[in-house]
């Protein structure tokens, strides 16, 4: 098992063997989660604080459940409504929490890089649960686990990522992870929703969805955020659905055994047709949610091991 990281801030800093370690351990937690008694003592006695500066139901619930199943004391801080409104800076909030000696800090923040900033100021392990338009590493890892279990491997696959690439941290983390694992990546979407410098990403870029889906093993759809409509990135919801919404006709261009993924929550009839989303032969959207809990358990377990080792080494030093 190779996992050296102190924090999980992004996929960018992980080596391929570290990614494999997470997935291998997560496989074991999938089995645990399917039992009636879903308990482990990997985080027994440890404190996990979930700090969500941005509203989230699914990710926060997933992290909370993951921590509880590992035996940690889990606390949710609804910072979106609290002290931040009173003008406290991010660093002060972090220092306040740090003084309570948490072991794991799970953070979501609307600003890119905010979690990196926070991690530099605290003594515990920090997990990025999504920062601005930067990264969402556990989402990419759970997507990788889902793909590996469905396809039997996580390399040499053709993966199409479709939709609002420019504003998506999920797309960035997936792009980095799939690239590190040597897959062929296609980015599909209107040019107004492509990030700048996309030509240098090492991915193939398509604005024609049918063309882009040809021969794809995996089709990853992204959520189209409502505020993009007001920003004038696309002309209308119905034109977007017509050109970039995943329906049976467009999906027919991908490989016959291609799987369909979506990080949720879905806008049915905007980026994905309801029938495709519910098609148990093609859609793995529910599996993604299941893998999410297991992957988060694996990440927290691995970070906790490193944290214990680090503290053990420090304690040994003080005795010498």
């Amino acid at each position: 098992m190779t996992f050296r990281a102190r924090h999980l801030l992004g996929i960018e800093h992980l080596a391929p063997e570290e990614i494999r370690s997470v997935l291998d351990l997560a496989d074991r937690y999938v089995d645990l989660n399917r039992r009636t008694v879903k308990q482990s003592d990997a985080l027994a006695g440890m404190t996990q604080i979930n700090m969500f500066f941005e509203n989230s139901t699914r990710t926060q619930a997933s992290f909370e459940l993951a921590g509880k199943r590992l035996g940690a004391d889990v606390m949710n801080m609804a910072v979106a409504q609290s002290s931040v409104k009173k003008g406290e800076t991010l660093i002060d909030t972090a220092l306040t929490l740090n003084a309570m000696h948490p072991d794991l800090l799970v953070v979501r923040h609307p600003n890119s890089g905010a979690v990196n900033l926070l991690a530099s100021k605290v003594n515990c392990a920090v997990l990025n649960a999504g920062d601005g338009k930067h990264e969402h590493p556990t989402q990419a890892l759970l997507d990788a686990l889902t793909i590996r279990r469905e396809k039997g491997r996580i390399q040499r696959l053709t993966v199409a990522i479709c939709g609002d690439i420019a504003h998506s941290r999920v797309a960035r983390s997936n792009l980095i992870l799939l690239g590190k694992m040597e897959n062929r990546i296609r980015l599909i979407g209107p040019p107004t929703l492509m990030p700048s410098g996309v030509a240098e990403f090492g991915a193939e870029v398509y604005d024609d969805m049918r063309e882009g889906l040809k021969g794809a093993d995996v089709v990853m759809m992204l959520r189209l955020q409502k505020e993009r409509m007001d920003g004038g990135f696309i002309p209308s919801e119905r034109e977007y659905y017509h050109r970039y919404g995943l329906d049976a006709e467009k999906l027919a261009h991908a490989r016959p055994d291609a799987i369909v993924m979506h990080p949720g929550p879905m806008n049915r009839g905007v980026e994905i047709d309801g029938e495709i989303a519910d098609d148990i032969n093609r859609s793995v959207i529910q599996e993604q949610v299941e893998m999410g809990v297991a992957v988060r358990m694996a990440c927290m377990d691995l970070l906790a091991r490193n944290l214990r080792a680090e503290r053990g080494a420090k304690a040994a030093e003080t005795y010498v």
Binding site: E12, T89, L90, I91, H109, N111, S112, G113, A114, N116, L117, D131, G132, K133, H134, E135, A166, R169, R172, P195, S196, G197, V198, E200, F201
Partner: protein
């Protein structure tokens, strides 16, 4: 009286870099390569460089309003330690320097507090809002050296055209900030792969060209004298070249940071590298260095912008923009010299002679009769920059911990020593 012997004289006016001696009397340069007069203090430079003091256009001092960031005293001490003998202050203070009364106040404060010369630019429009022009005539009488709204780019072109026309009638110099404010709104970095991977909002380099093109149209329309504070992208250079070829009264500057750093230096969201305009690609940086070396870009400035810790210790998008640079200007410029990109007379043309000329000041030269504003420095002396050692009240330098070469040994203003290296 002062007499410098064994000096390496850097004279941008004649383009020479040669051994010699220099005599100073009554605050002026009195003789070159003569013998020491009776009673003069003889300074043996032992081969170090003696050059005109730097003239820095566009320094932000926090007076009035933000003295905790920088005062005239701290800025003046930092400038003296950095070989900057004339500071040209920006009016983007709080409140803006947009009335003769405020201008008189800062002029008096600066005179009392600073060991180096300080001159002030005044706002072009009231509160820098781009609507109503300031009292340009009164402000000129009160000593305003140029007019600028700094990085607040007005969008009301009718008002700007009137302000430019009025300024033209009085012979005032406008300092513009070439940037299209719509396109650059909300940007924290330059768009491209780096911006996308960091998930930061970027501005396309073309926003600078668009802003520059608009300003050139206004200059052609009104005939005003115009200096672009910072030209930082290769895309703007052909437009600058064209404007000069067409005979417009135009000059351009660039900050030392845009000549020595690029966008990748931001790394993992290091806010001390957040600047306005943002750092550019390495290709752009190289193009800017070449443009300065060729003389297309006339002036290098520090764009000294003090920001306190609190305003920098924030998520990148929310953090304040700007860096202090008065003390690191000269050593950073030495990196260009050591890389072989520019020689010392060429650098001093851009850092002293050209800015002085553009503003109608007699500084920037080693000619007999010129003010004895001088810097004595060793271009090769190495050191590691420790930001806590800076004299500026704010320590937001991007060069913290960096190995640099080029140390100021002594600085003189009107023949008086205002800084001497300890030890």
């Amino acid at each position: 009286m002062l007499h410098f012997t064994n000096a390496r004289l850097i004279d941008p006016e004649t383009g020479t870099d040669a051994p010699g001696s220099l005599t100073v009397a009554e605050g002026m340069i009195a003789a070159r390569d003569g013998t020491a007069p009776q009673g003069a203090r003889v300074i043996d430079c032992s081969g170090k460089c003696l050059a005109p003091g730097i003239v820095d256009i566009g320094v932000k001092v926090g007076e009035p309003g933000e003295r905790h960031r920088e005062s005239f005293r701290s800025a003046g001490l930092a400038a003296a330690a950095g070989g900057v003998t004339t500071i040209i202050c920006r009016p983007d203070t709080s409140p803006a320097i947009d009335t003769p009364e405020v201008l008189e106040f800062v002029t008096r404060r600066a005179r009392e507090a600073s060991p180096v010369r300080i001159r002030h630019m005044a706002a072009l429009t009231k509160a820098r809002q781009g609507q109503e022009m300031t009292e340009i005539g009164f402000l000129l009488d009160a000593g305003a050296i140029a007019f600028t709204d700094a990085d607040a780019v007005g969008t009301n072109t009718k008002s700007l055209a009137r302000a430019y026309t009025y300024a033209r009638s009085l012979g005032a110099l406008i300092v513009g900030h070439p940037q299209e404010p719509g396109l650059s709104k909300g940007a924290a970095v330059t768009s491209g792969k780096f911006a996308s991977l960091r998930g930061l909002p970027g501005v396309h380099p073309m926003a600078e060209r668009m802003g520059f093109d608009r300003d050139m149209a206004l200059v052609e329309m009104t005939g005003v004298a115009y200096h672009a504070d910072q030209v930082t992208t290769a895309r703007t250079l052909p437009a600058l070249e064209r404007a000069k070829a067409n005979g417009l009264n135009v000059t351009a500057g660039v900050s030392i940071h845009h000549l020595t750093l690029n966008e990748l230096d931001v790394g993992d969201y290091r806010t001390f590298f957040k600047l306005t305009p943002p750092l550019r690609s390495e290709d752009d940086r190289i193009a800017m260095v070449q443009a300065v070396a060729e003389g297309l870009i006339d002036i290098i400035c520090s764009m000294h912008t003090p920001a306190d810790e609190e305003s920098k210790r924030l998520p990148f998008e929310e953090a304040a923009s700007g860096a202090v640079a008065l003390e690191t200007f000269l050593p950073a410029a030495m990196a260009l010299y050591h890389a072989g990109a520019m020689d010392l007379p060429g650098l001093w043309r851009a850092m002293a002679l050209n800015p002085a000329r553009r503003l109608g000041l007699p500084q920037g030269r080693l000619a007999i009769g010129a003010p004895a504003d001088l810097v004595l420095f060793d271009p090769d002396a190495p050191f590691v920059l420790d930001r806590s050692s800076l004299r500026s009240k704010s320590k937001n330098t991007p060069f913290d911990g960096r190995r640099m070469e080029g140390k100021v040994w002594a600085t003189f203003v009107a023949g008086e020593q205002v800084f001497g290296h300890e030890g």
